[in-house]
């Protein structure tokens, strides 16, 4: 279908690696604690008795004390919003490892930014550009930050965008940070869609009842550097193809996700058989999980170990893809599969190999996918090096 010329172009492109990662989640205050929590089967999802005007909702909320404790360790002066603190907490470990150079690119993935400010301060306080510029200034970035705002695929798409910028030679490295907050704004909207589960979400399960919302932040550092001493993760393929079907419902045939997975495989020059792990989007809505099962089946991934991490974090929106990618990388580093929490009996029409037990498996190549409102889809393939 595609010409040999394409292969040639792709092969001549620079290789881009994820060399460090970090996160702040409702499961743990940092990456280590989050990973440990997942190993113990802990979920950050809890019942919240009162949230805005909503009552008794389940959500993956980060306690304010956790954010404050992490924040105080950083010794940063100045006034920042809760979300900004979450982003800075995630980003700081990357900066400590390597300071940004004059060409380093900062890329933010978020769906709503400081939307919690909107009612009080109007549009100015909710301006995403102002928010990320404050963070860029804090860490001394010289280039203008970029914001990827593409619904729930934003977190993974930001990695693709950073990779493309490095491959096009506009920067040598990129700091990708993603974050979204649990807010009455978003919760009331999802509730009006009647898309929220009245118990912790159960992705791909027969008894799933919808989405559980969450919040979190994550960061990864992208560069062309690959040293022999360290294990790094090459971004070997990615694509983001729209369903072009419906603004709030996924395609029944999983077309956009299927095409995204095919695009990522094609760029990587590998077959589905070579993928060791699939980290699905798995929001636990009826339509989404069904759509994903069709796309994975069409992509010949039905026997590949698969999980959704929404049972631990809830749906962290713009942060979801990146937060979950950070966990995938830990999983590959330790060759340790993470259980798809909330899954018991298949509730989708196609066979999937859902992970139900913590077990060891050699994990060299993984696929992370995301799908979101607007019929957006992103597939990202990473491979372990060294």
């Amino acid at each position: 279908m595609k010409s040999g010329k394409e292969q040639l172009v792709c092969c001549s492109m620079k290789k881009v690696y994820i060399t460090s990662t970090s996160c702040l989640s409702s499961v743990g205050a940092d990456k280590q604690l989050t990973w440990q929590g997942l190993q113990e089967g802990q979920s950050g999802i809890k019942k919240i008795e009162k949230f805005g005007f909503l009552e008794d909702i389940y959500a993956g909320q980060i306690a304010d004390e956790v954010i404050d404790t992490q924040w105080n360790k950083l010794n940063i002066k100045g006034i920042y919003t809760r979300l900004e603190k979450m982003l800075i907490i995630a980003l700081k470990p990357m900066i400590d490892l390597k300071k940004p150079t004059d060409t380093s690119q900062l890329i933010l993935a978020t769906t709503k930014g400081n939307i919690n400010n909107l009612a009080n301060t109007g549009v100015k306080g909710a301006d995403i550009n102002d928010m990320i510029q404050r963070i860029a200034d804090l860490f001394g970035f010289k280039t203008t930050p970029i914001v990827v705002c593409n619904a729930c695929v934003s977190g993974i798409l930001a990695v693709s965008i950073g990779k493309r910028m490095i491959q096009m030679g506009v920067c040598e490295d990129a700091y990708i940070v993603a974050g979204d907050e649990l807010t009455p704004f978003v919760a009331s909207g999802f509730n009006s869609f009647q898309a929220m589960s009245d118990e912790p979400c159960k992705p791909f399960d027969a008894n799933r009842k919808g989405v559980t919302l969450g919040e979190g932040s994550a960061a990864v550092y992208l560069s062309t550097e690959c040293t022999a001493q360290e294990t790094v993760f090459e971004v070997i393929g990615e694509a983001s193809i729209a369903d072009a079907n419906h603004i709030s419902g996924p395609s029944r045939t999983g077309e956009g996700l299927y095409l995204s997975i095919q695009g990522a495989l094609r760029e990587a020059g590998i077959t589905a058989e070579q993928v060791d792990l699939v980290s699905a989007h798995g929001t636990a809505t009826n339509y989404n999980d069904e759509m994903e099962s069709i796309a994975f089946d069409r992509s010949e991934l039905s026997s590949t170990p698969t999980h959704s991490l929404k049972g631990y974090f809830g749906h962290t929106l713009g942060a979801a893809g990146l937060l979950e990618l950070v966990i995938v990388i830990e999983s590959m580093l330790y060759n340790q599969l993470v259980v798809s929490k909330g899954y018991e009996i298949s509730g989708v029409s196609r066979a999937l190999n859902m992970i139900t037990a913590n077990s060891k498996l050699s994990l060299n190549t993984a696929l992370k996918t995301g799908s979101g409102f607007g019929g957006s889809n992103t597939a990202l393939l990473i491979a372990k090096r060294n």
Binding site: F53, G113, A119, I146, P184, F185, N191, E255
Partner: protein, 207 residues
């Protein structure tokens, strides 16, 4: 990497109730009301797409501008040949304000799914992809002002890697009645067309 030449085959702006294509006025509406202007454009161009009336202002703006750029393109549907790269400064804040209004007071707490769905910037891009059946590469960026350099690089990547044959690039900004659409199509270089360079993008944006 191989370096190819590409051209900006056409461009269009929508602002102050005027639609321009290649700097020529192609439609002019009554001043002062975007919604009335959008409806007039729809009627005059005999567009038959009832979903248009459910859209928020940002999506209507993206729809009109994209219509102006795509109406004379011939392609099989669905297609992956035309990618979409959109950006703006205010994300979906115009509709965010409406949703916010509906949840601020307990006595009048009435969030609407029809409004909430438009509280994501990329929905305006989705509306264009759905209308024209563009099952293609797409991304939505938020930047303080139109970032021609960012667009140039991302467009070039998509074309160089053969992910699409053309890219529709657009700045789609709408906030509290103030708006601007600036869009252009990039594809293989053809003699006589404006070359796709950073300078030319900035030049046509300034016009």
């Amino acid at each position: 990497m191989e370096q190819h030449k590409y051209s900006i085959s056409k461009w269009c702006t929508v602002s102050e109730e005027v639609v321009k294509r290649f700097d020529q006025v192609v439609f002019e509406g009554e001043k002062g009301d975007f919604v009335a202007f959008a409806k007039a454009y729809y009627k005059t161009n005999e567009i038959d797409y009832p979903k248009f009336f459910k859209m928020d202002a940002l999506s209507k703006l993206a729809f009109i501008g994209s219509e102006c750029l795509l109406m004379d393109e011939e392609f099989d549907k669905p297609t992956s040949d035309i990618a979409l790269l959109f950006s703006n400064a205010s994300s979906s804040l115009d509709t965010d304000l409406k949703h916010c209004e509906s949840i601020i007071d307990k006595d009048s707490f009435y969030p609407s799914p029809a409004v909430f769905v438009y509280t994501l910037a990329n929905i305006c891009l989705a509306e264009v992809s759905i209308k024209h059946k563009l099952q293609s590469e797409n991304a939505f960026f938020v930047t303080p002002s139109f970032d021609g350099d960012l667009m140039y690089t991302q467009v070039k990547y998509i074309l160089e890697t053969h992910r699409a044959k053309q890219v529709l690039c657009a700045w789609v900004e709408y906030l509290e009645g103030k708006y601007k659409f600036f869009g252009y199509m990039v594809g293989s270089y053809r003699q006589g067309e404006l070359e796709h360079t950073r300078e030319n993008i900035k030049e046509i944006y300034r016009r």
